[in-house]
Structure formats: structure tokens, C-alpha cells
Amino acid sequence: MPATVGVVVFPGSNCEHDVVESVEALGGQGRLLWHGDADVGDVDAVVIPGGFAHGDYLRPGAIARFSPMMSAVTDFAASGGPVVGICNGFQVLTEAGLLPGALQKNAGLKFLCQPATIEVLVTNTALTGNATRGQKLSIPINHFEGNYTCTPDTLAELRAEDRIVFTYSDNPNGSTANIAGICNARRNVVGLMPHPERASNQLLGSDDGNVLLGSLLDAASQ
């Protein structure tokens, strides 16, 4: 029985079909979840995909967090279900308080769409179970607001609890401590700026994202 991954769709999301395509290429099942609905249904994992949920007006993710679906996703996460936020999804998760910190404008004040090399720091999360510690992955970034920012206390906590999941090898956006992705204390909620689904096929330049999406499918099957 393949794991079913629910992919949340806000009106301005745009990576939802890409996530479904790459998850299905790995044998999973994708299902779109409309932001106005209040139930995730019987999915085994949830992905909040990239895009511009509500045009990123006010702040990325600021309006999305109040949607009925986000309440359902919060409950799903509280029950231990794997939840991954990619790019705009990461921004939504921080706005919703499921992950600490915030994503600010890139230090260079430019949108950046380019390959990035990230290092996997921890492997006991919903997105990195099949990766190895120290593994370098080539995965594209595509954002204007990916500069991870948090208080010194939060950073100390993330470090103490081994919750910095990915760091950039060559920091493209000014992120604190080169952070590319983090997880919650329970390790079932992961947010990252790079797009694993865009590194899902050698024809696209890299398939390094498959180890992450495969890990998510395995976590979802448990």
C-alpha cells in the first residue's frame, strides 16, 4: 500500500503538482488538499509546497496560517504525522508557529533561483531518515525570502537539540548559521528552503532530492 502524501494548495501555491509528480515517481500517492477545507483526510504525510500562498502580501505565509487546512495540519502534526514545508511552505510553518524563527528577505535583496549545495546534519527526522550525516546534496533554491532569522536563544536551542537539519555549504541568502532547514522538537515537522522535488530526475540536473522525498515516504508508511 503506497503512502499517501497530502499536498496543501493555497490559491497562490505553484509547486503542488511538482511535489505530487516527484512523490508519485517514487511510488507514493499524491493528493491535493484545498486550503479552505478543514480536514486532511486519511493521508500519511503532509507537504506544504512552494509558491506564493496569498501572493506573499503582508508577509509570506502570514495569511495562509489562518486557513482551515492549517488548523487541520497543526492537529495532524500534533498527532505525530510527518509534515514538511518546502520554501513558501517553510515560511507558512514558521508563521503558524509549528517551527521557530522567521524567513527574511535575502541579504542580496534579489530573488535567487540557482543550484545550492546543502549538507545533511541530522538523520532522525521525517525528511532525512535515508540520508547520511554529512551527506552533501545538490538541490535548487528559488526564493526572495529565505534568509533564516531567529533569536540567539532559539539558535542555541536548535543547536542543543540537534534541530538544524540542513545547512548551506555556500550561504546564498544570509541565513543565520547557514541554516537551510530545521525541524521541531519531535522531529516530525521539517521546513527547508531548497526544493527537493526540483532535484528528482537527472534530466533536470540532479536527483539528490529523491533521498529526502523517499525518506518522507518511508516515514509516512510507519
Binding site: 509547486c15 509528480e21 509558491g51 506564493f52 506573499d56 542580496g108 530573488f111 533561483c113 535548487p140 537527472q202
Partner: protein
């Protein structure tokens, strides 16, 4: 009362007389306003139509040719491809960010109007020189606008061109190409039919922004600063989030078969959409101007009808489907309002309430079909023969520092394209910075991968066309076809954006006519149908016209996309050859122009040889016979070698380049190919069989770019100069000049 008004609205006395003849009476204000925008240069193509008729437009695979919102071709496997290119030059000079952003928005609407999901944008951009502060400000704003709108609306930007030249200092060019895919059977046209059907306005509210905007801005030159300030209110503000919801809502309406016809609102706004849908369907329409949701109070009917507020569509719907249409729009938070009803006869009646008084009435088709057609005077420049005899080859000495001259001809455009999402939809196999982009061809509704690819390129060269608009345009089309061959693609269809100066200048009309003739000759030789186009005139400032700049967008098909095309990156030890006829003439080259020599003449293109070169290149790319290939264009052979060496991280040692003429010449029909030593005999044999000249150049090796007797520059230095050009000029917070 219309005596002064019609001139204020840009209509001539003859045009007013014609309107009176059509109506059999004097027009009122709203009617006059509608004719003025619909008969403007921008909407009616009144100066160019007579020439555009000469372009070849037909082929078996063409489903929709010029005249609709976009051209459509059959790509096989039940997939049709819609494509179009447009300019947003004038608005982008006044307000670069919003001008470029709304240009992106407009072209995307043209594509999903045809029922297609937009999957790729390309943006050929032309700016003034980098040492001009205002040009830097325009360039930075335009790129931010394309980025801000395109990324948010969710259409990847997979390529384009960025050219800086003196000629665009007072008039930049912002052209945007868009391509979409649709299931062949879902093709919809922008036409109304069925008496009693409803016209529903979708999307944004209507304001005074952009009244007469596109038509006014694009139909007259910039005279002085004061006039520019007056035109400022005509610039619209784009809302990509509104457009994103509009795309999704419209595609769902089309998926469910709920619309009879659909039309986007571009130049001339509701007036154009209502009259075009009615006139194409051979019907009339009662249009309720009071029902239109507005964002400002006190708007007059003529303002509502001609407003160019962005992100709006007009759908023609059977009354029984209206509720479902409104329901889908509500889901996507898209405002939807019934604003009209299809009627018998051919009258477009503007009414105040559907049963209320008539405030204007014109034959719908007269706004289009009866638009004036001008055969404006054409004249070749008085000094043409003198200019053509003044060859760059004779006039210019070899540069003292050949390496510096060479490196000044090429730059890394990644400062531009790294600001654009170029990967969305997981299609991009070859992205920006290449000869042509290559996308996976997947079915738009089932998602099934055909294993084939779409190849896209945009090309334009004002230098060639300034020297000789006829041959320059032939060379432009030839380059695009060769670019497609470099990624293994067969060309299928062409769209063009003809950017020219003031059509009231006979020399400009001569340039336009020559360019159309050149395009016709090239397209006929390549069996390449022209499926759509856009003409942008009045590109001038301070009384001086831009160099003629026809830009083409060409789409091709890759039959087997199981591997990534070779690209520009060669391997250490590869043998380097040039395929195609040797060339050393310099007129029209970037080096000549940058050296201040902007005239001379071009050699005619041997189109038959060009076809053999493209066939050879395509065959080598498809069969894996070359490890790298790159066409020779801007910067000549030298420019191609520099770009390939930088892409590879491996230098080269090249001999047999006779001098700066051979290094910088941009003569057509040539590529540099890198070949594994054991493949070289087969490539030489293949070239011999096809009668394509092959010149052995040298070897890919080492950490320098060395051209014997001419250039010897460390690869690292070349890379640094190439990479730093745009970031140094544009990166660090420029200020308005």
C-alpha cells in the same frame, strides 16, 4: 462637439469622416473613444498590416495562425502548443518595474485565453549602455518586474537575451514571449456565439488606470519630459496573485467545458474584448457598462469601456452554466459579474443596465475590420550606398589589446536569470544561458511524459538589421533555427515582435518592409510558418529612431529527450572544429559597433548551405557525435570559444584564426563543435557528405584561452571579466539618474 475631441484622442480628420460614414451620424463621446483606441496603431496595426500579409503563415501542423490571441500548433500525442510574443517597451521606460510586470501579465493572459496552461516565458530585453545611470535604473527595474510578476504568477522564465546598446538609451525594449500547452481538443477561440448567451467579466475591478494606456503609449513617441509626466497615469500596476487565481479559475472553467468563448482584456480593455468576441462570432452584444465593478467613483462610460486595468477576462457563457461559473470563480476568489448579453445582428450597444438606455451603439466589426489601413511612404536612407560601401573591415584597425576586446563582447547573464524561477513544473532540461531552452513535453492534463521535448529560442540583432534590415532579418531567423539545431530540435513555428521607430518616417517604413521581406524569404526557405506577431512602432526618443529590431521566438521539437543535449561544455582533449563557411567580414558585428562603426553591408545568407549546416548539427547532437556545440553569433568565433571554455572550466589552444576579422566576424551558418578524438573522422565524413565546410581549430585543454598570434588569456581572468560585468554595473543598488 467632436471636432476638437477626435484629434485629442488621436484620430485624424479623415478617420473621423470615416466613422461618421459608418454610423451615418456624428459619434458621441463613448463611441469616439472606442474608435480612437481600436483604431490606434497599437490595436489596429494600421501602418504594418499591409506588409505583414506577405509572411508565410500556413503549414499542416498550424492549428491557429496570426490574428487570434496566440498562434497554436499541433505538437503530437494530443498536445497543442500556443505561443505569442509581445512588447511592453513604452510603459517600461516610464515605470520599469510595473511596465515589465504588466507585460508579463498580458502575454500570459493571451496564452491561457486559448485554453493553454502557460508553462514558459522568455524575455528578450534591450537597454541603453551600462555606463548610463538611467539605463541601469531601467534595466534593474525591468528585471525586478519580470521576476516579481513571473515568479509569483507561477510561470517559469526559461531564457531570453539581454543586450545593452546606445540605440536603446531613450527607448528600451521589453519583449516577452510566452508558451503554453493544451489538450488539442480543448482549443478555444475568443468568440461569442449563441444569442442570449451571457458575457461575464472575470478578475480585477476596473479603474481609471491605463485609460488609453497601451494604445496611447505605444502609438506615439516620447516628445519631451513634460509629456512623459502626463502619460504617467496610463501605467498600470500588476497584481500577479490576482492573475494566478484568474489562470486557475479560467482553466477550470475550460476543463469543465463551461465557456463558449473567452477573451483577455489587454489594450483597449472592455471595448476591445466585447467588440472582438462579438465580431469574430458574427453576432452583436449588449454591454451593460454600469454593471462593471469599479475601483473609482464617478467613472464615465467611455472610461469604463477603454480602461486598461490589468488581470481581467471576458467569458461568454450559456445562461444555464452561469451559476457553476460563478461558483468556480468564488472558489478561486475571482470576482465574476454578468456584464453583457449576446444579441442578433452585429451591433455593439453600450447600455446603462441591460434593459436601460443605450449610451453608445456601433457595428462591432467596424472597430476591427473597418480600421484604416495605411501604406505609408517608404524610402531607403539617402546615404544608403555610401553607408554600405563604408565597410568595417576597411575602416577599423585591429584592436591593440585583442584579449580585452574579445572579453568585452560577452557577458554572463546569470545576474538576470538567477532572479527568475526557471525550473517550475519540472520541465526544464536546458535552461537560460544556453543556445536554446529545452523543456520536457508532458501532456497538460494527464501529465504523461511523451519522452519528447520542446525547444525554445528568442533571437534578435539590431546591429545586423541597422546595417541591412533585409539580410539582418534573414540572419536573425537563420540564427534561431541554428540555435534549435544545437539542442537537437526541428523548428516548428515562429512568432515575431517587430520593434521599429516612427512609421511616419519613410526610412522606418522602408526598414520594416525590408525586414518583413527578409523574414518571408528565410521562413519560406526553412518551411517555418509565422503563427503570430506583434508590431511595436514609435520606438524613438528625442526625434531619433531605434535601430530596427525584429525579434523572433521560435519553437522546435526534440524527438527523443532521453538524454540531456550536449550543451556548451567540452572535455579536456576534445578536438575543436568550426562547422560552416569561414567568415571574416565585420560590418554589423558587436565589435564593429562597440568600436563606433555602425554601418557597412552584410553578405547575403546562403540559405541552402544554412539548411545543410543545421541538418548536420542536429544529426550530430542527436547521435551524440559531438561533446559540445555552440552557435557563432555575438562576439563571433572568439566569443563562442570564450563562452564554451568558461562553461567547461577547460581552456583551449586554437590555431588557424587569421586575424581579428576571423575572430570577431558574426557571419552566419557556423557553430563551434567539440569532438572526442575518436569521433573526429566520422564527423569529418558526415560534413563532407553534406557539403558543409569543416575547419579544424585546435584542442580543448589547459587553463588559458589561447588563439595563436591573437589571444592568450588565463581562463580564470576571462571568467572573472565575464561574470563580473553585470553584477558590477547593476548589482550594488543603482540610483536613478
Amino acid at each position: 462637439m467632436t471636432d476638437a475631441l477626435h484629434r485629442e484622442l488621436g484620430l485624424t480628420d479623415d478617420e473621423l469622416a470615416r466613422i461618421i460614414e459608418i454610423l451615418g451620424r456624428e459619434p458621441n463621446h463613448v463611441e469616439l473613444a472606442m474608435y480612437s483606441v481600436m483604431w490606434s496603431e497599437h490595436c489596429s496595426y494600421k501602418s504594418s498590416r499591409i506588409h505583414l500579409k506577405r509572411l508565410p503563415t500556413e503549414a499542416d501542423h498550424v492549428l491557429v495562425g496570426p490574428g487570434e490571441n496566440a498562434g497554436v500548433i499541433d505538437a503530437g500525442d494530443g498536445i497543442a502548443v500556443a505561443l505569442r510574443i509581445e512588447s511592453h517597451n513604452h510603459p517600461s521606460y516610464i515605470e520599469p518595474y510595473q511596465g515589465a510586470a504588466t507585460g508579463v501579465g498580458g502575454i500570459i493572459r493571451d496564452i491561457f485565453t486559448m485554453g493553454a496552461r502557460p508553462i514558459a516565458i522568455m524575455d528578450p530585453l534591450r537597454f541603453g549602455p551600462l555606463d548610463d545611470p538611467r539605463s541601469r535604473w531601467v534595466a534593474e527595474g525591468v528585471v525586478s518586474g519580470v521576476s516579481g510578476y513571473g515568479n509569483s504568477v507561477g510561470v517559469p522564465n526559461v531564457g531570453g537575451e539581454t543586450v545593452f546598446d546606445e540605440t536603446y538609451k531613450g527607448n528600451p525594449l521589453v519583449n516577452v514571449f510566452c508558451l503554453g500547452v493544451l489538450p488539442t481538443e480543448r482549443l478555444v477561440l475568443g468568440q461569442a456565439s449563441g444569442t442570449g448567451n451571457l458575457a461575464i467579466l472575470l478578475g480585477s475591478t476596473t479603474g481609471r488606470d491605463g485609460i488609453g494606456g497601451v494604445s496611447v503609449l505605444a502609438s506615439a513617441g516620447f516628445s519631451d519630459d513634460e509629456a512623459d509626466a502626463d502619460k504617467r497615469p496610463s501605467v498600470q500596476v500588476g497584481d500577479p496573485f490576482e492573475e494566478k487565481r484568474l489562470i486557475e479559475a479560467c482553466l477550470q472553467l475550460l476543463d469543465e467545458g463551461l465557456v463558449v468563448g473567452i477573451q483577455d482584456l489587454g489594450g483597449a480593455g472592455l471595448c476591445c474584448a466585447a467588440s472582438e468576441t462579438a465580431s469574430r462570432g458574427g453576432v452583436g452584444m449588449d454591454f451593460d457598462v454600469t454593471a462593471v465593478p469599479r475601483r473609482e467613483e464617478g467613472m464615465e462610460p467611455y472610461e469604463v469601456m477603454t480602461s486598461e486595468s490589468q488581470e481581467r477576462m471576458l467569458a461568454i457563457v450559456e445562461p444555464g452554466e452561469a451559476d457553476r461559473v460563478l461558483e468556480i470563480c468564488e472558489k478561486w476568489e475571482v470576482l465574476a459579474t454578468v456584464v453583457g448579453k449576446v444579441t442578433e445582428g452585429g451591433s455593439l450597444r453600450i447600455v446603462d443596465g441591460l434593459d436601460g438606455p443605450v449610451v453608445g451603439e456601433v457595428p462591432a466589426s467596424s472597430l476591427h475590420d473597418d480600421a484604416p489601413l495605411y501604406d505609408r511612404p517608404r524610402a531607403e536612407p539617402a546615404d544608403l550606398s555610401e553607408a554600405r560601401a563604408d565597410l568595417a573591415d576597411d575602416a577599423l584597425e585591429a584592436p591593440p589589446d585583442m584579449a580585452a576586446a574579445l572579453l568585452s563582447l560577452v557577458h554572463d547573464a546569470s545576474w538576470v536569470y538567477s532572479q527568475y524561477d526557471h525550473q517550475l513544473f519540472l520541465n526544464t532540461v536546458v535552461g537560460p544561458g544556453s543556445d536554446a531552452a529545452v523543456l520536457r513535453l508532458k501532456h497538460p492534463t494527464t501529465g504523461v511524459d511523451t519522452g519528447r521535448g520542446l525547444a525554445l529560442t528568442t533571437d534578435g540583432n539590431h546591429r545586423w538589421c541597422a546595417v541591412d534590415p533585409y539580410v539582418g532579418t534573414v540572419m536573425t531567423v537563420a540564427e534561431s533555427v541554428l540555435n534549435l539545431a544545437c539542442v537537437g530540435a526541428r523548428p516548428q513555428a515562429l512568432v515575431n515582435c517587430l520593434n521599429f521607430g516612427n512609421p511616419e518616417h519613410p526610412e522606418v517604413m522602408w526598414q520594416l518592409s525590408q525586414a518583413v521581406d527578409g523574414m518571408t524569404e528565410a521562413c519560406e526557405a526553412f518551411d517555418l510558418p509565422v503563427v503570430g506577431g506583434n508590431v511595436s512602432l514609435y520606438n524613438e526618443s528625442g526625434g531619433s529612431n531605434i535601430d530596427p529590431t525584429p525579434i523572433v521566438g521560435v519553437v522546435g521539437l526534440v524527438d527523443d529527450l532521453s538524454t540531456v543535449p550536449p550543451g556548451m561544455s567540452w572535455a579536456d582533449g576534445d578536438r575543436l572544429v568550426m562547422l560552416g563557411p569561414p567568415s571574416s567580414w565585420l560590418s554589423g558585428s558587436k565589435w564593429a559597433f562597440d568600436s563606433g562603426h555602425r554601418r557597412g553591408s552584410l553578405r547575403p545568407v546562403d540559405l541552402e548551405l544554412h539548411i545543410r549546416v543545421t541538418n548536420l548539427v542536429r544529426a550530430l547532437v542527436v547521435s551524440g557525435g559531438v561533446s559540445a556545440v555552440h552557435d557563432i553569433s555575438t562576439g563571433g568565433l572568439g566569443g563562442a570559444l570564450v563562452e564554451m571554455a568558461i562553461a567547461s572550466g577547460v581552456g583551449c589552444t586554437v590555431a588557424r584564426v587569421g586575424g581579428h576579422g576571423e575572430l570577431f566576424s558574426e557571419g552566419p551558418s557556423r557553430v563551434v563543435a567539440a569532438i572526442r578524438p575518436d569521433h573526429l573522422p566520422a564527423v569529418e565524413a558526415a560534413a563532407g557528405d553534406l557539403g558543409v565546410p569543416l575547419t579544424r581549430l585546435g584542442l580543448a585543454h589547459g587553463d588559458a584561452i589561447a588563439v595563436k598570434g591573437l589571444v592568450d588569456v588565463p581562463l580564470a581572468a576571462a571568467r572573472s571579466a565575464w561574470e563580473r560585468c553585470l553584477p558590477d554595473a547593476l548589482g550594488a543598488g543603482t540610483t536613478i539618474g
